[in-house]
Structure formats: C-alpha cells, structure tokens
Amino acid sequence: MDFRFSDEQQQLRQEVRQFLEEELKQGLWQPSCDAWIMAYDPQFTKRVSAKGWIGLTWPKEHGGQGRGYIDRLIVTEEMLRYGAPAACHWFADRQIGGAILHYGTEEQKRELLPLILRGEAYVGLGMSEPEAGSDLASLKTKAVEDGDDYIIDGQKVWTSGGSYMNWIYLVARTDPDAVPKHKGISEFFFKADLPGTTVRPIVDITGGVHFNEVFFDGVRVPKTCLIGEKNRGFYQILNQLDYERSGMERLMANYPLFEALIQYSKESKRNGQPLAKEPAVRAKLAQLKIELEVGRLHMYRVALVMDEGRAPNWESSMAKAYGTAFEQRLASTAIEILGLYGQLAPKSKRVPIKGMAYHSYLSSKGYSLQAGTSEILKNILALRKLGLPSQ
C-alpha cells in the first residue's frame, strides 16, 4: 500500500496547475461550477490538446501518451479544481475515444481518433429517450439497413451539449424483434449536422440551456459509422458506462463553490466575527472537507482498478453514487451557510460568490440521475458486488 503519487505524477499535476494559473492570469475564462459539462470553449480545448492532455491514456501508436488512469485523474482533478471550461472535449476524451479504441475498426481509429486528439470532436451522447431512461434497453430510436447506409428515425432526450455538439454518439435499435430487447441494440458515431437531424434545447432547472431533445427523421449514415458489432451495442455501453461514471467530475463538479464558500466564510462577518469562527459553520465546512477527501479516495481507487486493466464496475458505481450525494450536500450546505444571501441568483444585486450556491443547488439535482441514477448504481452494488439475489 502506498498513497504517494510518483514524482512524474506530481510533476504532471504541477504542470496542469501552472497552465491553468497562467490561463487565469490572462483572464481567458472565469472558473465556474459544472464547467466540465457546461462551459464550451473551443480555444481552451485546443490549448489542452496542444498540451497532450486529451487522450492521455491512449496507446502511443494512436497518438495518446500511454499514461495511466491515475495520471488522467490528476489532470481532470485539476481542471475541476479550477473550474476550467473543458466541456468541448470532455465526453470525447473520457469515453468515446476509449470506445473507438476498444470496438472500432482500424479505419475508424485512423479517422476518428486524431479528431478527438485535436480537440475537434464535441460529442453529444444520444442514449436516453422519453420512454427509455434507466431502462435504456427499451429504447425505440431505430437504425435500419439500406444498402451501404443505415437510416435513423426516432428521438433522443436530455442530450447534454446538444446545441454545441458536432458529433453524436448514438445508441439505436437495429433488431426490433430481439428477445431480450437489449440484444437488438447497436452504437453509431456520426456528424451531428446530417440532414434530418433537429436539435431542440430544453431549458433546465437553473434557467440555462444544457440538455436538448434531438430528433432523427430519416437520417442517412454510412455503415462505416457503426461502432463495434451490430446488435452487441448494449454490452459495449455497459462497459462504457463504467468509464462514464468513473471520473472526478462525479465529486468535484461544483468544487469552485467549495473554495469560494471557505473564502467567504473566512472573510464575511456575522455578529462581529468571521462566519468561519462560528462553531456550527466550522463543523459544517469541516464535515464537507472530510466527505470530499473520502470521496477522492474512492475516485483514486477507481482509477487504480482501471490501471490494473479491470473495468471499474462496482467501484465506479459506488464512487459515483457517493460523490454526487456529496456534491448535493455541498450545494445545500452552501446555501445554509450563506443564509438569506444564499437564495440570490447569479445576476442579482448583492449576490455573494457569483451565485454559485444558487446555481449549484439547482443543477446538482441532476447529478444523481445522469449516467445512472443512484438507485441503479446501488442495484449494481447489491447484485454484482454483494451477490444478493435478484428480485
């Protein structure tokens, strides 16, 4: 057992920090909560790509750095710590590149991986549908073979970044008669602006536009867009989901709020003394810190599992359910500590800490739903890890 990072890893962390500090100094962007999924900044992504921090874990022959998942976790942890606008490349780097490496043909690898490495693939994940949430296998969007193409019809919903995406990762039904239904599903990756595609933004609970409805009306995609095996898509997704759930964004999505809250508590006075001197406030902040640090250990464990070459199946389920619950407590506690000020919206007069508490309290409601609800994750722990009998 060793909880130390290697010299190389410490150096990597230092490098990422320096890079981000420098960016901040130049005022290139403002730190924000949810920046990993909501702050789209193509230029930032280009600069990250130039650093070699996209595709860090991919093999060198595919343009990656051949580094481990702990290293990637270090990079993403720092991005999140600084609230850096990494949304353009996050999905592609986190799971799409990996999926193509795993399941793609040589040609797909040659064509698509460089795109991701250059930070030019802003990917939307087209999985959920109005009738297919947790029970993803009941999805209806269909892809029908037609000569050298597939023709896609149907609707996706909750597609994060749908208004920005230029590529879409789509899960569709390729065998309507399959029993059980999950055996008739395939995965596709194609440009998001093909004729017949309509994206309609959904205003989310914060009042912002983050997720979208995406309609496919006879969208024609070449067969070369099929990723992996036809009708085996569901097994591929299960594996990808392990990766989707595995990252530090499930613990530190609203980390900038935590830092701002600590700073605020030290500086703001209530009843003649800094807030941070009030025993109740101290205890709350310390408890958050304790929970955060336990969460970091969960996240690092997941990365270690991946570095061992295992899919982090139950470990990532545990980490995600734990981490998102923490993020929600953080947001809620932040409003409690800010008191009456906590209710002020980001653009309001007198709003403290840029309204991060308001934003985060609302946006964090979705954390425990996206990428597998906490209930589904606990099912995984109970059935797959603990071996409890199924219902």
Binding site: M1, Q9, K266, A276, L285, A286, K289, I290, A321, L388
Partner: protein, 377 residues
C-alpha cells in the same frame, strides 16, 4: 499510488483471521468479558508466541520490526474478532510511545517484556472532563527531592486493573498555557497510593477509575522531556485514533458480511429478504460506508507508518469511520430484525464496541474542529 496490501500483509491477515476465528468464538469473548481480568492469559501467551505483542517493535528489543501499517492489518482482524483484553493498551498506548521517546534504558527495560507478553501497559490520560484537550489534564506531579509525587484521578483508563505499568500524563508545574508543563511518567501500578475501580461500560471492556494519592515516582521514570509531554500525548492520541479506526473497519466489515449472509438466507414472503430492493440498497450503503472507512483509515495508517505529518488525514479517518460505523450498525440491525436485538446474537458484540470506539480517542466533532483548523478556518 497503490492500495493493494503487500504479500506479508495478506499473510498476516489470513493467519490472524484464522487464528482468531479458531481461538475466539463468541462464547470465548463472552467468558472473557465476564471474567474479572477481562482477557484470557492463555490466549495472551499464544498471541505473544505468534509475535503479535512485538510485531511493530524493533528487532533489537525482541520485536518483529514490522511497520505500523502491518500492525493496522492485525488490528483490523482483532476488531473483526472482538478480541477482548489489553493488547491495544499494551502495544498502542504503551509500547509505541516508549519506542518514540523512551530513553535507551527505558527501551531496554520495557520493550522486550512487552514483546514477550510478560508485561501489560496502559495509558492514564483522561480525567473527569472526559476530553482529549490539554486543559483537561489536572493530575499533578509535584517535584520532590528525588522525584515526583503524583496526585489526581484518571478516568476511562483501559485495563488498569491488570496493567503492570501505566503511562501517566500529569502536570509538572502550574500551567502557563494549557499545553505547557505536561509530562509523561512510567508508573509501576503496584506503587503505593494507587487504587482503581472498574467502571461498567457499553463495550463490556475494562475501563477503570484510577486514583493517585501521593504516588512517588523517580526522575528516571519520566518518559520523554520534562514539561514538554503534550506534543507526544497528541501523537499518542492520533496514533491511537488510527488504531481504533482499524479495529472499527474490522468490526463493520464483519457486520456487513454477517448481514449479507443473513439477507441471502432469511426468507419472508417466500423469498430471501436480500431480494427486496430496499434491503439491497441498505446493503449497498453499508458497503459504501465500509469501503470509505477502510480507504480513509488505511490512508491515515500509512501516514503514521511513514512518519509523515498526517494531522488532517487522521482527523478525517476518525471522524468518518466513527460515524460510518453508526450508520452500518444501524442498518445491520434493521436488516436482522428482532433476532439481532438478542444478547445471544453475535451482532450485539459489534454494536456495543462500535459505539464505544466512536467516542474513544476523539469523536467526530473533536476531529471536525481539527479539520477546520487545518483548513485555516
């Protein structure tokens, strides 16, 4: 970074687990709890023969020269087995501080006897205010011509009734600041003026009230530096807190395992209760708490083992583990139903111990405050 135990640690774990499940069925735990001594001298001897007392003591004093991290593995197994008796007092509260700050003579005098199981130690620290702050140390050690005279009352002293020696924390002079002028003494328990009474505790362990009435100790029995003892006491508390966490991790891992077994086997409505989703989610929550406690505990144990400054990591481990234990135990009881509320069921041993462990060597509030300080609040 690497979270995998070493091969030796795996071996130690298996060996200790097997030994304890063989020698320590709950009937034996019960017998020991009910006995006056609170432990079995026979088992104690066997543990000494296995090298457990000296595991983390230097080889030149008859120890095994292993690390605190190795010891952590053993403590986890002891927690899982509900081992009663003065192991913790002797090794964690007696032996390790002597390694840290004992003089060469003191080390030679005491450590080999600890390693061989001949000598039982304990620590007399807490007093009526029942806190781990320096201000609560009121017991006085007044300078006398050839030594010191200790007067005061210590509370919650584990195993004092069987200890051969106690490390006694006392004030050596009127205080300027709370932390100043505290010293540690190695005191022979048979010294004139020492008396003890057993307290009755939730864990059925042996905590004592120990009264020191004009107890004479010689200068040679000062452990560490005169008047500068509080720093070491803090270190003892921190290390003991981590050691407690290790026991607690063993405790809740065992509770989880028992509960999963039960959920698979107990049937209601013609199906195992473990097939009900509510029960499954309770179990998933227990697992998450156990794993979180384990991660935080081993991080802290690793810091202690490496001699790194780990004030925050220790605080996080103890605050988290203490509360995680309570959640795990509560769910275990809920899942077990009424059978878990009987004195004949194994669960009660864990329920009792986990509650005591939560408040021993600092509870969550105590460590939250330390974390707050570390955060610069």
């Amino acid at each position: 970074m690497n979270l995998t135990p070493s091969e030796e640690q795996e071996m130690l774990k298996t060996m200790a687990g097997d030994f304890l499940s063989d020698k320590l069925p709950k009937t034996a735990v019960k017998e020991m709890e009910e006995s006056e001594a609170g432990y079995s001298p026979e088992l104690w001897r066997e543990m000494a023969e296995l090298g457990w007392m000296g595991l983390a003591l230097p080889e030149k004093y008859g120890g095994g020269g292993m690390s605190f991290l190795d010891l952590a593995v053993l403590l986890e197994e002891m927690g899982a087995a509900c081992l009663p008796g003065p192991y913790f007092s002797t090794v964690i509260l007696g032996g390790l501080p002597i390694i840290d700050i004992g003089s060469d003579e003191q080390k030679e005098q005491y450590l080999p006897r600890i390693a061989s199981g001949e000598t039982i130690f304990t620590l007399a620290l807490t007093e009526a205010s029942a806190s781990y702050h320096a201000a609560s140390v009121e017991t006085k050690a007044s300078a006398d011509k050839d030594g010191y005279i200790i007067t005061g009352t210590k509370l919650f002293v584990p195993d004092a009734h069987v200890a051969d020696y106690m490390l006694v924390v006392a004030r050596t002079d009127d205080k300027a600041k709370d932390e100043d002028r505290i010293s540690l003494f190695i005191v022979d328990s048979k010294s004139q003026g020492i008396s003890h009474t057993l307290l009755e505790t939730i864990a059925n362990d042996k905590l004592c009230e120990v009264t020191f009435d004009q107890v004479k100790v010689s200068k040679e029995n000062i452990l560490g530096q005169l008047n500068q003892g509080w720093g070491e006491v803090q270190k003892i508390i921190q290390r003991a807190a981590v050691a407690k966490c290790c026991e607690m991790v063993g405790c809740i891992q065992k509770v989880l395992d028992m509960t999963i077994d039960y959920a698979k086997e107990r049937k209601q409505y013609d199906r195992p209760i473990g097939s009900f989703q509510v029960i499954q989610h309770y179990c998933a929550d227990m697992l998450t708490d156990v794993d979180g406690a384990r991660l935080a505990t081993y991080q802290a144990a690793w810091m202690v083992s490496e001699g790194l400054p780990g004030t925050q990591e220790v605080a996080i481990a103890k605050a988290w583990t203490g509360e995680a234990c309570q959640r795990v135990i509560a769910l275990a009881h809920q899942i077990h139903g009424a059978i878990g509320c009987t004195i004949d069921h194994d669960l009660q041993y864990y329920t009792r111990r986990a509650k005591a462990a939560e408040v021993t060597f600092g509870d969550a509030s105590f460590y939250q405050e330390i974390v707050a300080q570390e955060m610069g609040l």
